[in-house]
Amino acid sequence: MRRAIRNYLVFLGRCARIAFVGDWRYYAWMGVLTVICLLGLHAYARQFAQGLIVTGMSDEVSWGVYIANFTFLVGVAAAAVMMVIPVYIYNNEELHDLVIFGELLAVAAILMCLAFVTVDLGRPDRFWHLIPGIGQFNFPASMLSWDVIVLNGYLLLNVHICGYLLYCRYRKTKPGKWFYIPFVFIAIIWAVSIHTVTAFLYVGLGGRPFWNSAIVGPRFLASAFTAGPALIILAMQVVRRVTASGPAGGASRLPGDTVAPQRPTSRAATLDDLDLLGRNLPELASVSIEARQKILAGATILEVNAGDVVLRQGETDEKAFFILKGRVVVKREESGRFRITRSVGPGEQFGEISALAGTPRMATAIAEEPACLLRLSADALRKLMKDAPMNKVIRSRMSERLMITDRALMTLRSIVQVSMLINVFLLLNEVFKEFYSGNLHVASSKYLYVGLHGHHALVPWIWTAIAFNLVAMVLLVLPVSRSLRWLNFTCVLCIVGIWIEKGMGLVIPGFIPTPLGEMVEYRPSLNETLVCFGIWSFGLLCYTVFLRMSVPILQGRLCKANEGLPESATGAAALGAAVEP
């Protein structure tokens, strides 16, 4: 027990330490975010001292850009987890690694949501009145009390799932199904519920006809499913960029070619070599001597030097490798860049997927240090995999690769595509109902879309949003958005369009005109805007740190095996330029 706690604390400590290690780009990015965070904190301190008078809000428009951001971010949080559905329900392997990134995004988004609600409170010092048991909790009558439960519950669920999966990956153990699969399914339902509950915050108010519409809930989900995956598409490409080791100028840029490679020495493998492998691969113990001998027929031992290319992306040869000693880095070229997929050490394998499938190599493997490798034919590997424990360990390793493939991004694209179509359709429904029936309650919609009684602060905003959404919709339907450049542009349009439409475009018109028919407009104050920027920076800071910790773990560079080494020596620090030759 004590040992388990110690191990866990070491894990947390290493994660914390690695958050402070990076190249200059990392420091620059974190520095800028920290400065904006502090500016936001300064603005919030002013608000805390002087009251919400420093915002643009009033008794007429009593919620503003804080709640608008909150609403948008709840959607992001909900959608980020829904990535889980294709993976766990439809077994989409391409998206497998995106799940953790999605859930981490959800965690960051929820933290931002909680921050946005807190800064909106007039008496944040009385937060404890909301804690069930010691405060007074108006559950189930108040939708806000539901929101408190679902948001915090969602935060815990996602922290648990990500934390558990990452810790297992760190220890290189297989996650226990019962420890996370049930939570994954709860999180899926929970994701729908957080956004539905947030919609009900508005829908339940009979005195505000603009919000009191059953379609708000479905609209929220549709727009969340557009903006959330769009954000993930962008974030994943950033991860891919920074994990890339530099621009790919063809194979000649590979380190193995710049240093004239010595021909690796090779010899036939012996039973002793298998024993050596068995030290780092305990599952091998269950393979009988007869089976071992069969496997050894045609197996070779390669002695390679640091920088030698063991196998090359695109080639086809049906050989798989196990490492007896040394380390090998596996890189993959995609969209013109190399990135480190993972780094493998003694007892681990590489090259087995294309060996088994007979497909071209998906990546290039280069020795990081002088290494001793066992090379097996596909047949020998299959024989080895007839043994149940070996089969299990090899298969589980095959499925735990960090891969952000273009195909995964295209799967996200189709989610964004369908959601955007539904979103625009639902918006049209709402607009039709409001304007065609033309009853007295159309006032807020008129204010939003065309202006009312000479007030039209939101009109340019909403039309910008609609234009962005429509252009994004068209681009998503056209094949042009299969190119990453266009897809990124489209994603930005989606995110900005939806931020306006469901943030400011939904919250503010609900207050204008007031229930007594008065027209008072709202414009966020500078102080309020600074607080918002601060919270967004805080969220980005959190997400960057989460990625900074999880990427090396998923790549196998930060693991229990290399515990005790300084982070810079494990290569865990090498999130970018540091691994360049």
Partner: protein, 318 residues
């Protein structure tokens, strides 16, 4: 935690120490700069309007206070008010009376839109003068329409009433089915036995959900510390009524709880020069309000279709 020391580069001790000294200096410089930046960004807290004392921070919910605790809290409030305004107020915790349900009736034929009720209310209920908070909003409507989206809020003629218009004062409607109570996440607002919806100003967290929920725009928020000239302070106070509020909490019309629960009329009624305002106990068949609701032929509950069932009735002399 016995962390394993990395045994890397076991070179001579001196260079390693130099490296770690440099690292230490750099780390401490970064940490110092960070703390300084943090302190600088928190500086506005020094000009705090309303720093909660531990006693106020820990104060219990109204319904959970024992009579002795309530006694102590009332004394504390009196002391606090005295310290701030130089006047010792009399703060009471008035309970609803049995067999009483308050109802307000307002005669739209008589109201001349003079807004005397608005100002009497401000004076009686210790509302903030800067920024201005008022519980009553008088709407000017053109004859022939009750569409409040056509209402004029900022009418300012030399003389009221104006030809072609009628006036409709709106304040908290004391709904039987109040949306504000339903949405409050912390039970800081509730309906009392005599029909008055009250707010525990020391429990409200200032989320303003009730303000969004109210179909009558009857709730007001203290966007900053309220300011009341000390010579205008009304020292006759009630805990759930007109005691001075703090920054960041909601307030609204409470039918002058400090008066009506002591057997007096609300301030807005007393000041009305035309007798347009009527107030009383609907459970008493002989009360004025019972008479009006039984005998007047046209009366309106504002936004009746929302199902809030107001205890505030508008009627006409027909």
């Amino acid at each position: 935690m016995p962390a394993r020391q990395p045994q890397f580069n076991p070179g001579p001790a001196a260079p390693a120490a130099a490296v770690s000294r440099r690292g230490f200096l750099r780390t401490s410089a970064v940490v110092t700069a960070g703390l300084a930046a943090l302190a600088a960004s928190l500086k506005p807290l020094l000009e705090m309007n309303d720093f909660p004392t531990l006693e106020r921070f820990m104060q219990k919910y109204y319904k959970e206070l024992t009579p002795e605790e309530m006694e102590r809290v009332l004394k504390r409030i009196e002391t606090e008010v005295e310290r701030q305004y130089g006047i010792r107020p009399h703060v009471r915790d008035l309970k609803p009376r049995d067999g009483v349900e308050f109802v307000y009736c307002l005669n739209l034929t008589r109201c001349i839109g003079c807004r005397k009720c608005v100002h009497a209310c401000v004076a009686e209920n210790n509302q903030s003068r800067n920024p201005e908070i008022q519980y009553i909003r008088v709407l000017r409507l053109p004859h022939g329409s009750l569409d409040i989206e056509k209402a004029e809020h900022n009418y300012a003629p030399d003389l009221v009433p104006e030809k072609g218009y009628f006036y409709m004062p709106v304040q908290c409607q004391q709904c039987k089915n109040p949306p504000c109570v339903k949405v409050c996440p912390v039970h800081a607002t509730w309906q009392e036995a005599d029909g008055i919806t009250v707010i525990d100003y020391d429990w409200c967290i200032g989320c303003r959900y009730c303000e969004a929920a109210c179909p009558y725009w009857a709730r007001r928020f203290n966007f900053t510390k309220p300011s009341i000239p000390r010579e205008r302070l009304n020292p006759d106070m009630a805990y759930l009524g007109n005691r001075p509020r703090r920054q960041g909490v909601m307030e609204k019309c409470h039918f002058c709880i400090q008066r009506t629960r002591a057997g007096r009329y609300p301030a807005c009624l007393e000041v009305c020069p035309t007798g347009a305002r009527k107030f009383g106990n609907i459970l008493d068949p002989n009360s004025e309000v019972s008479y009006i609701l039984k005998n007047k032929r046209v009366f309106i509950q504002l936004k009746e279709e929302l199902g809030t069932s107001p205890r505030f009735f508008y009627y006409f002399d027909v």
